[in-house]
Symmetry: C2
Subunit: 216 residues, 2 copies
């Protein structure tokens, strides 16, 4: 499964983009910075809950609902969510993406967030030309790790799942991609153990630069 | 949809049982008490992710994985998780459950956690005789809010979904139950807004005592 894929599909939030600067936005509105991980896990929880029970909502709407559950008013909700568009990529990402392109691999992004936000950030970083398309789950109306989300992305890329690799820092995303027939690459920037309850990643690397080297 | 149900199925964690005392266990092992909600949201996120992508693991295993991701060693993981069995029910629960039984309603519990843990807590509180069975998602091997989890519970109760009500403090659980044809009752102990992205509850009450009064 270490064979070089034809297509690489990147998860976006935390995988390409560093979300830590959002902590300051939480503190701006009177929350604790420690509530950032609670918020993000809760947004994913609720997005997955809708997908598993037959429903769909976009990330920003669920993100707002969870912030309202943390007792924020509309203006404060907007302040936190508007921070998403200003985030930056992790330092290893530009080299890693360029290295994959130089190896002839086609690149896509597929996020549970917003494709437009992804495109805006990649454009500002000078990386948008490296990707063929920025995709999100509003197309399939199913959040990753549902099979339909991966099938949507590989379908738009015009390849079969076995020709594509999903790259993510989130084990559930690697697990779901592998279940859908893609290969899975786990980026382990923080050096934490991969969960026993999910299928082991086909590839693991400490960052995107190191992962790209495995596929050269 | 306010008609008295034949069967009430209770969610357990946070709905019947107060999880807040677990904060002290987090602090015992060097984490912040604010990491309790992050942990619980992350456990649900990962359980739902497995359910949505075709997998299954029990709550305690996912709970341990998430704690290891918070950099706890095995002994510290055990210390936190062993706290689950010692939790108590919310103060409104005994009166509420007895009132529902006096109204002739049959009671069940159905948890993404452990049926054995539920039974142990209810026994200690003198409430176990009020329920016909304590159920969990290891039966259907699908976490709520998957339809299969509710169908399993109503099937064991021997009723059709429309004769049953699911009671929970979690909007995703109310949403999923309603999608599966049960009626949904939302307990809003904290007074937070119900998310716009989920189907509105058929009934809302501030606690179980107040809910039981609606069905007398």
């Amino acid at each position: 499964m270490n064979a070089r894929p034809h297509v690489v599909i990147f998860d976006v939030n935390e995988t390409l983009i560093d979300m830590e600067p959002l902590r300051a936005r939480f503190e701006d509105v009177g929350l604790s910075g420690e509530q950032l991980p609670t918020w993000f896990a809760s947004v994913l929880r609720d997005g997955f809950a809708l997908t598993v029970s037959g429903g769909f909502a976009e990330f920003a709407r669920i993100g707002a609902d969870v912030l309202k559950g943390m007792r924020l008013q509309d203006k404060a909700v907007d302040h936190v969510l508007s921070g998403l568009a200003g985030l930056r990529v992790h330092p290893d990402v530009p080299d890693g993406m360029r290295s994959l392109r130089e190896a002839g691999i086609r690149l896509f992004t597929m996020t549970n967030g917003s494709a437009a936000t992804t495109a805006g950030i990649l454009r500002r970083e000078g990386l948008l030309d490296l990707v063929e398309a920025t995709l999100d789950v509003s197309g399939p109306r199913a959040w990753k790790p549902a099979r339909a989300a991966y099938e949507y992305a590989v379908g738009l890329a015009g390849v079969v799942p076995a020709q594509a690799a999903l790259v993510a820092v989130h084990p559930w995303d690697v697990h779901g991609a592998q279940r859908a027939g893609l290969s899975g690459a786990y980026l382990d920037r923080r050096g934490v153990p991969y969960p026993d309850t999910m299928s082991a990643p086909h590839l693991t690397a400490p960052d995107l630069r190191a992962l790209a080297a495995l596929w050269r």
